[in-house]
Amino acid sequence: MTSELTTDDPTDVRELTRERLHEVTVTVNGLPRSATVPPRRLLSDLLRHDLRLTGTHVGCEHGVCGACTVLLDGAPVRSCLTFAVAVDGREITTVEGLAAEDGTLHPVQQAFHDHHGLQCGFCTPGFVMSACGYLAAHPDAEDDGEIRAEMAGNLCRCTGYAGILAAVKQAAAVLRDTGADPRQRHRPDAS
């Protein structure tokens, strides 16, 4: 990363405020990926534009809708409120990193499918990633009120949330049975 003071005269504010390009390397879904980006590049746009991973959706770009949620070192975060330069060297999981290599859906994805947890699907990648982060931290999730509170940071304009709630509960039960870490790529034979 080129974030050090690179000027000989540190009092030269013009130098310190000049936009420079940064080489950013992140591990996305297990693979190292690099891009040269300006500091203003949001993580959501690094994923979508530079790395062509368009599974991560962008709705509001100010943190409210949750469509852009990804895992950063295993914890769910808003990719639209994160600068790509600020996460250089770290690990990202997107919705593309969940289904098995052969296409078998991850238990959280399967549960959304089973319970009509999606209609248009715009909000779904964000819900799925939030659920993966939540279920990793709370494998015992069962209580409707608690699941609603934990998932309240994601908005859906279609489903009315009932299917989403049922999906998260089913996914929690399946994951408890298999003991799989929901933040890892699904391995159908491992259960």
Partner: protein, 300 residues
Amino acid sequence: MKPPAFAYHAPPDLDTAVDLLAELGEDGKVLAGGQSLVPMMNLRLATPAALVDISRLGELGDLEVADDAVTLGAGVTSERLRTDDTATAAIPLLRQALDHVAHPVIRNRGTAVGSLVHADPAAELPAVLALLDGSVVLRSRDGTRRVVGSELFLGPLESDVRPEELATEVVFPIPPARTGTAFHELARRHGDYALAGVAVRVGLDADLRIDTARAAFIGVADRPVVIDVGAALAGQHHDALDTADAVGHARARLDPRDDIHATGAYRRHLAGVLLGRALEEAARRAATTDPTTPTAEEAT
């Protein structure tokens, strides 16, 4: 929208960070969790020429619980604080307040110190700082200073932190025994900023009667408003409170403005209702804190 262009600096240590802030002056801004700053940049409400990212400074990651205070560095996220059992056992109000702050996904990045410096008039933690007389330590190239409680908040989104200063830590003093607290607010949707809210601390005497009572309101003015309601409650038994006088006393001192979310009159009414509930809950909690530990007066 996309944020405007800026220069990015990730200094390797605190000294370099404050040097950078000194050199940048008004052109620079600290980037902590980014959960308030990045939305403002995306909306082009903030257009800093350079950001100084402090999220890689390990020195700011400490969370310490001592006998008299909980101290946390500027790198500690709101979610880490909320789920730290030792810190929240020492000061239950931290968790009571943080349960209302945004959503887990936002709290995973947003810092407690960042929320204080950001000074949103509807944010929860500023009320906690004001109510507990906590203090924020500010460091610049010229040295450090400490700002206590409400003095940090100058106006909406304006705190007493100069462009060349870095807030390194916040210290929340642990209230004495027989103190109970509560945080009540009403928001349109869970995790939204509140229409109005109140943090309350109640101290009981040895007979479990009200000795002290203070409230810090959010969302009803351009910064947290602390109101002492002790006189209106003094001597009342903790489980038979008549809060009407305290509520009247507080309402008379609040003058919230109308906005698109609610009228000022509604907010004032709401603040009183929340105060009544919070006082009752805090008083009950105060009575169940360990009675074998001395009260503040007995201890001194």
